[in-house]
Each structure stands twice: as C-alpha cells, then as structure tokens.
Symmetry: C2
Subunit: 201 residues, 2 copies
C-alpha cells in the first residue's frame, strides 16, 4: 500500500487502501469515510470511480484475483515443462501463504462475510475460485495423476481447510501438516496414474 | 427456534433468535434492537442476561458447541465399540452438513467475521475446534490408523475446506468429493496401520 502523496492515482490509492482496511477490519467494519481519509482523497472521487462501496469491494477482489494469475505464470516459469514440479511449487506457495498470511484468503473471508446473494463481489470470487480449480486440474492432468479432477478437488479442499484452520487452530494446528498431506496425495495419485498407464500399455 | 409467546424463557428465546439472525445476516449485520424485537423481549432483558452483544455472540457459539458434543455421543451409540464405523459415521455426518447447512459452519463463519482478537467468542470457538480435533484423533487411534494425528488433521482440513468451498463453488464443486476423499484417506491410513502392526508382530 502506497502512502497518500506518492504518484499513484487516487483510484489506485483507494483500491490499495480499501484492500488493506477491509482485511484488517472486515468489509462491514470499515466505512467509506475512513477509506477516503486514509487514501488522502474524498468521497466524491470514490463514488465517481466505483459508484458504490459494494462495487469498490468487487474491485478490490478483482485486484487480488489478478495478483493470483501472476502466481500461476510464475510457477510455469520456475518449472518449465515440469507439471510435477509445478504441483510441488503450488503446494509450497500455499504453505507459504498459510505461514505469512495468517488472516486467511481475502476472497474466502469476503465471501463468508457478505450475506447478500446479489453482492457484486460474490460472482467475482466464484469465477476466480473456479478458474483456480480448473488450472490446478490442468496441472494435475499434465503431471499424470490417475484422476486429475479428484486430485485437484482434494488439494483445493486441503488448501481452503488449512487456511481457515490456521485462523482458528493456530500455527501448530492441522495447517502445519498441509504440505505433508498434499505432497502425499500428489505422490499417490501420480503413482496410481503410472500403474494405470502401465496396465493399459 | 420457538416463536415468542411459547413457554421458553426470554433468555433461551434471545439465544435461539440471535443464533438464527446472526447466521442469516452476519454478526455485524444485525443489532440488538432487531434481536429483542424478533425474540419478543426488550434490551434491558438482553443486557441483564448477557451484559453485551459480544457476550451474547459467545453464548450462541457455546450453544452450537454443546449441540456438537451430542453428535459425538450419538456416533458412539450408533457404532458401539466400532471406531472404524464411528469414523465412517463422522464422514457421513459431515457430508450431510455440507448438503443441508450450505451456509457453512457457524463457528468458522463467526471466527472469520470477528476481527477483534479479544472478542469473547474467539476463545470459545478455538476451544471447541480443539476438542473436536482431539476427539477425532482419539477415534482415528482406536480405529488403528497408522498415524492417528495425521489422519485427524487430514480429515479436519478436508471438512473445513469442503464446508467453505460449498459456499463459494456450489454443490457441484470440490465438496461433492468430500466423502470419497475422506473415506479413501481413512482406508489408506488403517491399511498402513495394519501393515505396520504385522511388521512389528
């Protein structure tokens, strides 16, 4: 988050400031007055760019989602033509989030906090999580998993469960075993895939 | 939830009404005025019994936790001296929650929505989830799992992940595979436990 007075545009400052304040206080715990004050701008500017607080929430979520796309690209660069390596890299990335972002996933937290079915952020979150799951399944398939969708669903549940658990059970709770459990799931699925391919061959 | 005017005490009516309203609107989405009106009582009665809205939230969570204790007792009655059956029963119970309580776990949702570290509900939630995990590990141990704590942590992450995912990815998302993945994890851990015991023997 940049400080007001730097060169970033008022629009970017509002999104960065709101993202940080929503994370700290919850969507309902912070009002537009506090956001514009912290962003060094005014309500008229906020409403001109976003129309409403709900749309600002959706825009903050879009920003987070774009950030996640970059991470998939980074994995592909770090492990070129190595989907097994990419899966291992994904597991390490999630384990790193569990340790460093102890507040959990902003998208999940926002989805849980928002009780209005028609809130504009809800569709953004669902779309992002669907894309995440599809990309994970693609990498599982390329890695030779016996049942790529099942492995992707397993890893996804472990990830979401670990991130939620970190907030409630702390660092020594179940989330401490995320990496071990996820790596074992990947190894078992790839071994079963190899065995299945050998049978067919 | 009983309607106002029935024989339940004002205290019980407040807890039942608040639990339902918090679930629907979120903790911050509902005020004490709306709660006492829906419970057919008044603010003085609410504050006499609970002292504050925060303490009322904690009391609602205690009520949910007590409810969960009954479910462990029920599993022990349904599968007497059969820890493997109890694990299967626990998995079916969670799969049933995923289907019928699509809003997710009230305790997790409350923990995520509350951003104050010192909120009295937070300790109640952490204590309850710790007990849940310990009971699950005890059943895993009795069932002969190779590493009971690891299996309990795995099942716990899958449960929390499935319940969160149900809210975001819908009924056809990863949570639809919860039962299959959890049953496979139990079977693999018990098979490894049997193999380990045979080696020692």
């Amino acid at each position: 988050m940049e400080e007001p007075g730097t060169k970033s545009s008022p629009r970017d400052r509002i999104v960065d400031t709101a993202t940080a304040l929503f994370r700290k206080h919850g969507i309902r715990g912070i009002g537009v007055d506090a956001i514009v004050e912290a962003a060094g701008t005014n309500k008229m500017t906020l409403y001109r760019h976003f129309g409403s607080k709900d749309e600002l929430v959706a825009e903050c979520i879009r920003g987070q989602a774009a950030h996640a796309d970059e991470k998939w690209a980074k994995l592909a660069c770090e492990y070129p033509n190595d989907p097994v390596g990419q899966l291992g890299g994904w597991i390490k990335m999630v384990a790193n989030y569990i340790c460093t972002e102890v507040h959990g996933c902003d998208l999940v937290n926002t989805a849980i906090e928002l009780h209005e079915d028609e809130h504009p952020a809800r569709a953004v979150i669902a779309e992002f999580k669907t894309v995440h799951l599809r990309k994970l399944a693609e990498v599982c398939r390329a890695a030779g998993a016996a049942d790529p969708e099942l492995l992707a669903n397993t890893l996804y549940m472990l990830m979401e469960g670990a991130r939620v658990s970190r907030q409630i059970n702390g660092a020594d709770g179940p989330s401490a075993r995320f990496m071990r459990v996820a790596e074992a799931a990947v190894a078992a699925s790839i071994a079963a895939g190899v065995a299945g391919a050998a049978e067919v061959g």
